[in-house]
């Protein structure tokens, strides 16, 4: 199993969600992060003073997947999150040793399949 973490533009999120869903990925966890990289800052002003807001709002998507889902997941994200302009973000792939579903105690691959309520 892998833990795939993607940093994407907030505006691309709806497309990414759709692509992931189409790729069969159902369980995801999102959080708001602040990204700093090659992307230029945004100029704001207040009472006559200009300042550069150099952070960018990004969304982090964390997805635990079994091996066979690694490639489809990465593909889905790359295709749906890409705009071609600097700041599109990164995908990180990390080893994941165990997954436990709290509700049932199921482990690993069984723990990864969401059950619709």
């Amino acid at each position: 199993m892998k833990l795939i973490t993607a940093i994407i533009r907030p505006k691309q999120l709806p497309k990414v969600k759709e692509a992931l869903f189409t790729a069969g990925v159902r369980g995801i966890t999102l959080s708001k992060v602040s990204g700093h990289g090659g992307q230029g800052g945004m100029v704001e002003q207040y009472r006559g003073t200009q300042y550069v807001v150099e952070f960018h709002e990004k969304v982090r998507i964390s997805i635990a997947v079994s091996e066979e889902f690694v490639e489809p997941t990465i593909d889905a994200i790359v295709q749906s999150a890409r705009t071609g302009k600097v700041g599109d973000g990164k995908i990180f792939v990390q080893p994941l040793e165990r997954v436990i579903r709290i509700r049932t105690g199921e482990e690993d691959t069984e723990a990864l399949t969401p059950v619709a309520s």
Binding site: P10, L13, K17, E18, F21, K32, E57, V59, A116
Partner: protein, 426 residues
Amino acid sequence: MKFKRIVGVFLFVLFSTALAQTDAEKLAGLEYSLNTISLLFFAVLVVFMQPGFALLEAGLHSGKNVINIFMKNILDFAIAGIAFWAIGFSIMYAAPLFINGYSAASFPGTADFFFQMVFAATAATIVSGAIGGRMKFSAYLIFSVIITGFIYPYLGSWKWGGGWLEQMGFQDFAGSAIVHAVGGFAALGAVLAIGPRIGRYSGKKVNAMPGHNMALAGIGVFLLWIGWFGFNGGSQLAFASKDDALAIGNIFVNTNLAASAGAITALLASWVLFKKPDFSMTINGILAGLVAITAGCDVIIGPWAILTGAIGGIIVVFSVPLLDRLKIDDPVGAIPVHGIVGLWGTIAVGVFGGANLGVQILGAFAYAIPALLSGYIVFSILKMTIGLRVSPEEELLGLDLAEHGTEGYLMDDPLRDPIILNPKAV
């Protein structure tokens, strides 16, 4: 010649008299209209107390209940507007139902009604903050009808309707007892019936449940302070003479001195007790100063007004933790501010204002106890019938979502975007 002259004089006199007669009518019309316009403007100032209370309560409650608090404060005013018109005013002043054909001496019956209606709405709205965060909206609506249509008018009739307390010489100029103690003790009854918010008390421990927005509470208290000039000033009910003007000037100054003193003593008391000058205590202190002077704002003058307000401010700072120790959960301090200080203000007229102390004490409790009982009984009946309290899940979720299906605050948040993984959920 002489005759002509006399006739001339006579005609002249007649003419000047005729003119004087028209003038006298005009004068009477002016008096009448100055009384009316003044009363209506004072009433409009009192209406500012409605957003004032709404903001104070919203600020001191959790952000997940902000819609519910505004809904209650809007609806109790709307309900007062109809119920006090249909029935309440008639009970209180032995007037016809629907103020149908009712007229007053020095201003229109409609203006009289409108001014009294905003007082009824104030008494009702005092309750809403105390039971906030856990009561069913429907139960609150029914209670609003009952308090503005029946409880407040009936109790009010004892004094302002010329009833037995008026006969005894009880004094309550603008309603420390009739409005504030009634509202505050009805709130106590309501809180006893409904119990504290989940998690507020665990064993002997009192858990702070801080309000979500002190800026809202701050605007609220300013609007209340402003509205109170209408509340106390307007209660003079006559404006078109020098004596009335002198009285109202006095009322304004006494009212403001008491509010200022209440703010300052509550500030200092909280500073001493809790080591920091506390915001919510200070704003409660302002209201305490105002409630305290309400009954005697016409006769408790200058330094005595300061003293009356100052004591009010101190009472509040000591009452709030006391109520918590008794596990009476009043998130906004309505019971200390309006109830306990309402009693003090009523009694203060006997202490500093020359009224009969015994009668004042009697009158104070004559309002507090029935208000407490009727609050408790009405809410207990509601509890047994339609139910009084939302479910624990709804309470934790917040009344905005649970009762009104909408969130009070929504910041632009990409994570909330509605495109959906789970197609069944759509």
